[in-house]
């Protein structure tokens, strides 16, 4: 229950600027109803541990109780906890995917399931991805089997401003509210480059060029600033304007309560977007699909903006032509926040393998990236970009016990998650199918019979 209360409080903060124009004492809509699965005190012992803080511990233990990490270290005493022998195995924080479309572009990918792009106007800040999330997407379960404990689900990239994202705990529920990460701030999806100009240019309306894109963002922020000022003015005098869902979300960004996640491939476009953010006084939390982040790594570090990248996707469109395998390593090396994301219902299951590719590629040019450093790209760094780093993303006392026990080194292609704990509860066990979730859709298929393990 404490999570629900926290969620309501956090959600109230997010739209605090508009409270004057709403009925008092009404719960924020669509608040999280997430409840952790039932868990028990657990002591994982004798593992190789990557803490997510940049540290590696050998032959160490993790103690979990009441959904939290109690301690990480050597020779811990469990005091009645279930002891799990993890010798020869590795333990990491739960994997966090900064960029997913699970639920909004679910499997099977039929036209009737295509709920990720409200491609009817270039600015649709009023739509919320959570209202498209289908909790029975079998992709949640396969992602869980890949060690994913939290993810951000975003609207697609057809629009300049595509709408609100939502951060989920990867515990499939009946409704999206059952999965919403308690206390996580909302995100706003923005998109640079080819997609918006292709989608709208193809319809004969603006934007049809990159300069049209930029005019579109700036016009939206001008409207948002105006709305914010009018709302503030009516607090003391005059009649409040009609609530505007689109502008409410944009004002949430200007007020620093909603985090900007900006799909942007090219380095030169990232540089322009950073200037737009300065012009209107907001922050870009992360660039996604940042194929050319390595060209502007210093700018990213300077602006404290994360770059979320694929290990090796490239060339499928012009703005992806300059992709290199070492991208994330160069960003990390420049002191910026590097993240490996999936944008794929298949890739999300193997973010550890994608990270391994970058480690290997970097080694080709003499950059030695230790496992304890690289694991941050899929744990603590995405937690930071989602504004949930205080709660999860590392193995530290007091944090949510979101934990993966791997069969070996997570950066080996042969390694698989053995157990995945979310808030201290065993959510997935490769060796005990009876506890593993099966979505409604999957019932009756070979996957339900163990095929999609």
């Amino acid at each position: 229950m404490k999570y629900s209360i926290a969620a309501v409080a956090a959600a109230a903060l997010i739209v605090g600027a508009c409270n004057a124009h709403k009925p008092e004492n009404v719960e924020e809509p669509f608040a999280s109803r997430y409840q952790p699965l039932p868990g028990e005190p657990t002591l994982l012992i004798d593992a190789t541990i990557l803490t997510g803080t940049g540290e590696r511990l050998d032959n160490a233990d993790v103690l979990i109780r009441d959904g939290k990490i109690v301690a990480v270290g050597e020779d811990l005493s469990g005091d009645g906890a279930t002891v799990v022998d993890a010798s020869g195995r590795w333990i990491t924080p739960g994997i966090i995917d900064l960029h997913s479309h699970l639920g909004v572009y679910p499997s099977p990918g039929t036209a009737s399931h295509s709920d990720g792009n409200e491609a009817t106007a270039p600015v649709t800040a009023e739509v919320w991805a959570e209202h498209s999330v289908w909790p029975h997407d079998p992709g949640f379960v396969t992602a869980l089997a890949g060690g994913v404990t939290s993810m951000q689900v975003l609207p697609g990239s057809a629009n300049l401003i595509g709408g609100r994202s939502v951060t989920l705990k990867n515990v499939p529920g009946r409704n999206v509210q059952d999965m919403k990460f308690p206390g996580a701030p909302y995100g706003l999806k923005m998109a640079c480059g080819e997609n918006p100009k292709r989608v709208y240019g193809g319809k004969g309306i603006a934007p049809s060029t990159r300069m049209g894109n930029v005019a579109g963002y700036r016009s939206a922020w001008i409207a948002a600033a105006d709305y914010r000022d009018k709302m503030a003015a009516t607090k003391s005098w005059g009649e409040a304007p009609l609530r505007d869902l689109q502008l409410e979300t944009l004002v949430g960004v200007l007020d620093g309560k909603i985090l900007v996640h900006n799909h942007c491939y090219r380095g030169d476009e990232m540089s322009v977007m950073l200037d737009i953010a300065k012009e209107f006084g907001y922050k870009i939390t992360s660039f996604h699909h940042a194929v050319e982040a390595y060209k502007v790594a210093d700018l990213l570090a300077e602006n404290d903006t994360c770059a979320a990248m694929w290990a090796d996707w490239w060339g499928f469109k012009m703005e992806a032509y300059d992709g290199i395998r070492e991208n994330a390593a160069l960003v990390d090396d420049a002191g910026a926040c590097a993240i490996i994301h999936s944008d794929s219902e298949e890739g999300i299951q193997r973010l550890n393998q994608e990270t391994a590719k970058v480690i290997g590629a970097a080694a080709r040019v003499g950059m030695d990236i230790a496992a304890e450093r690289a694991i941050r790209w899929i744990t603590s760094n995405p937690a930071k970009a989602l504004g949930i780093a205080e709660m999860t993303g590392t193995l530290e006392a007091g944090k949510m016990a979101d934990v993966v026990v791997w069969s070996g080194d997570p950066f080996s292609v042969y390694t698989r998650p053995d157990q995945v704990y979310i808030d201290g509860a065993l959510a997935y066990d490769r060796h005990n199918d009876s506890i593993n979730p099966v979505t409604d859709f999957t019932l009756g298929t070979s996957a339900a019979a163990g095929g999609a393990r």
Binding site: R198, K317, A447, G451, A452
Partner: protein
């Protein structure tokens, strides 16, 4: 510059450009031959004029041979990408050439992508420095590209695939008309007007017309035969399919569609290869009996559509155990990232396939499937020397090739991507990147 240094550079240049008919010895490595010799520790491979001439532990290095020290390294045959559009595309969406699809009313089975292949494409170097030395280049269904919802669509019969080598660009074509691509199931349904039955009918009709044309060519040429739905060029191409020289390369996933395909192949006496095959594991014994190989994406187990609802991670292991020849490709990325077939192979191992079978699946197996195993696919005397030297296990994603030989020549280990990388590694340069070379 002293004379010996000049000589060394000259030799290196000659090696790189392949002007010399040279002798090369790769010594000291753990050699996975994927041939009858199995795996050999601390072995020597001798290459002459592009061909492997000797492999073994007690092989003497010939005088004057260029020696490559592979001690502590892992040596494998070159990797073989079994499908994709290398050399037929630069940038997928809204940019540059896309030569892999024939749309509109023109040719179908006669469409031959070999004529569009560009051996100088940037994709070639990017993939070969990661170990891909041979590739099937295949026509694709030709649906409008992502985001381009309008325009002509392609055909149930997409046309002819070819096998190329990714060597120096001369004599790149290994085998023309290596397979005939046909789209069945949900793929074919879209192209045939709304039903998978229509796709199958289109295929049978094409084969029947090709038979009629074959048996009544004189009448046809005299104008004494009814008009065919297909162009003569298409019916000519289908003759190879009817004779069994060209296997059908069927894009198909659903078990029921595969069952219909097995029946059709038996009815007409054809050969077939399945691409995709998410549900092929359900028919493993039938596929083994019919000698139909499967090109799998073993890690893709989500039902992208209802054709793939019973996909499972153990597919590769199940098919291999039944005796089906398998190879790997990732439908989503088999062109720009053909190099990632090692990841498919590694994941197949994680779910039960033996390591040896996995390496075979990305080297010799595709060479067999596409009819070039007499020349490549394994490290054996008499075969062309496509060889990759790895720092360790080639299926581990942290390992990248250190050297790649194609037809006995050490290729340059640079690509457009390594050049970009090296340019941006120079962070202390005092001029903009365009001035760093």
């Amino acid at each position: 510059m002293n004379r010996s240094k000049t000589l060394l550079i000259l030799l290196a240049l000659m090696a790189a450009s392949g002007v010399a008919a040279e002798t090369v010895a790769i010594v000291g490595g753990t050699v996975h031959t994927i041939g009858p010799q199995g795996t050999l520790e601390n072995a020597t491979i001798v290459i002459e004029d592009g061909f492997v001439v000797m492999v073994g532990k007690a092989v003497k290095v010939p005088d004057g041979a260029r020696t490559i020290d592979a001690s502590g390294k892992v040596v494998t045959p070159g990797l073989f990408s079994p499908i994709g559009n290398l050399g037929l595309v630069e940038v997928g969406l809204s940019a540059g050439p896309n030569d892999f699809a024939q749309r509109g009313d023109a040719f179908t089975a006669g469409f031959d992508v070999a004529d569009a292949y560009n051996p100088r494409s940037t994709l070639i170097a990017i993939n070969r420095i990661e170990g891909i030395t041979r590739a099937v280049i295949a026509p694709a269904p030709g649906r409008p590209a992502y985001g381009e919802e309008t325009g002509d669509v392609g055909h149930v019969l997409s046309g002819l695939a070819a096998v190329v080598n990714l060597g120096d660009g001369s004599n790149f074509l290994e085998r023309r008309a290596a397979a005939m691509v046909v789209n069945l199931g949900e793929n074919g349904s879209e192209l045939a007007g709304g039903s998978r039955a229509g796709a199958m009918l289109t295929l049978r009709n094409a084969l029947d017309e090709a038979i009629d044309y074959r048996d009544h060519k004189d009448d046809f040429e005299r104008g004494a035969r009814r008009a065919y739905r297909h162009h003569v060029a298409d019916l000519e191409s289908l003759q190879g399919v009817l004779s069994g020289a060209i296997p059908l390369y069927a894009n198909v996933h659903r078990a029921s569609d595969i069952e219909v395909l097995i029946q059709l192949v038996a009815d007409y006496g054809l050969r077939a290869i399945i691409n995709g095959g998410a549900e092929a594991w359900m028919l493993a014994d039938q596929l083994a009996a019919a000698d139909i190989p499967v090109v799998l994406a073993p890690q893709d187990i989500l039902p992208g559509n209802f054709d793939r609802i019973n996909a499972r991670r153990e597919s590769a292991a199940i098919l291999a155990a039944a005796g089906v020849t398998i190879t790997f490709a990732d439908d989503q990325s088999q062109t720009h990232n053909a190099r990632n077939i090692t990841q498919s192979a590694g994941n197949a191992v994680a779910y039960g396939l033996s390591w040896d079978d996995a390496l075979r699946a990305i080297t010799l197996a595709p060479a067999e499937i596409f009819g070039v195993a007499g020349r490549v696919g394994s490290i054996e005397p008499g075969k062309e020397a496509d060889i990759v030297i790895w720092p360790g296990d080639p299926l581990e994603l942290t390992n990248f090739p250190e050297q790649v030989l194609i037809k006995g020549e050490s290729i340059s280990m640079t690509s457009r991507q390594t050049l970009l990388r090296d340019r941006y590694l120079q962070t202390d340069a005092d001029k903009p990147p365009a001035f760093r070379k």
